[in-house]
Amino acid sequence: MILAMNGEQALVAASPKPTDVRKLTQEVWGTFLGEHGPLEVGTDLGFAPDWSASVSVKGEWNGVVALEMTTSGAQRLTRSMLGLETSEELVDGDLVDAIGEMVNMIGGNVKGLVRGPCRLSLPLVAAGRFAHGSGQREVVRLGCTWAAEPLAITVHAGRPAKSLTTRPLEAR
């Protein structure tokens, strides 16, 4: 017997699976930040993020990949990626660059998990939590801890409502 899927089931079926997103995220994180400890997944602390970075995938599959972090976590990530000592000053532009590049790498690999031709946007970085469009549904949420700081990686599927897209603090 063949059962037809409704729209929401089809959206989930066509979207990246949490286990795959978890695997690629840990690979990205471990390659560039592994010396500061592993990314522990499954530790959703329900924190209030200070920064969010996102990239959109548009085409055969539409969605948004987002990374949410605390300021302290983003500073640690930025120093690690730039190879800086803790005493060296950081400006917001450094954090925007680093967390934008991190979500760009995760998003680029997520794009490789979906079928059909798609385009990856440049990253958008904003102060505060990530706000998705009303037409989008969360299909993956990885609550994580790295270097004793909480962070979250999410994938939302579906087209965003134009009036509800996030306003970027700065676009790279």
């Binding site: 690979e27 990205v28 390659t31 560039f32 930025t78 990626m81 730039l82 190879g83 450094d94 660059d97 680093a98 934008g100 590049e101 760009n104 790498m105 998003g107 680029g108 690999n109 794009k111 490789g112 031709p117 990856l120 440049l122 676009a171 790279r172």
Partner: protein
């Protein structure tokens, strides 16, 4: 020898330069571009021996930059360092005249294997 590193992210340019050192290419000069348009200009003015470029950049993408560079007659070895490593992207890169595509995240071992085909190790 001279290597041009093009990426709109300063953080990623630093990681690429650090990985070059770790892969055994420490002694080469490095010039940096923030987008494809700057990369085209620096290929013309600096005459690098190798270009390592991101794909997705503002102003001009790495793919468009490669097309302009090849249209100008330059045969400089060109490799992409990008977050997207699908077969489709690799085919498009090769068709445009790129020698290789390194997907992010990458390791010094991957850099060494790919770059050794186009660049001698530093003395």
């Amino acid at each position: 020898m001279k290597i041009l590193v093009a990426d709109d992210s300063r953080v990623m340019r630093q990681i690429v330069i650090r990985t070059l050192r770790q892969a055994g290419f420490a002694g080469h000069d490095v010039v940096e571009a923030e987008n494809g348009r700057q990369a085209v200009e620096l290929v013309r003015s600096e005459g690098p021996d190798l270009v390592l470029s991101d794909w997705n950049m503002p102003e001009m993408s790495g793919l468009d930059a490669l097309s302009v560079i090849r249209a100008s007659g330059s045969r400089v070895p060109f490799g992409f360092v990008t977050s997207e490593g699908t077969e489709d992207m690799r085919a498009r890169a090769a068709a445009a005249g790129a020698q290789f595509l390194i997907a992010k995240p990458f390791t010094p071992e991957v850099f060494a294997a790919q770059l050794s085909t186009v660049l001698p190790p530093a003395p």
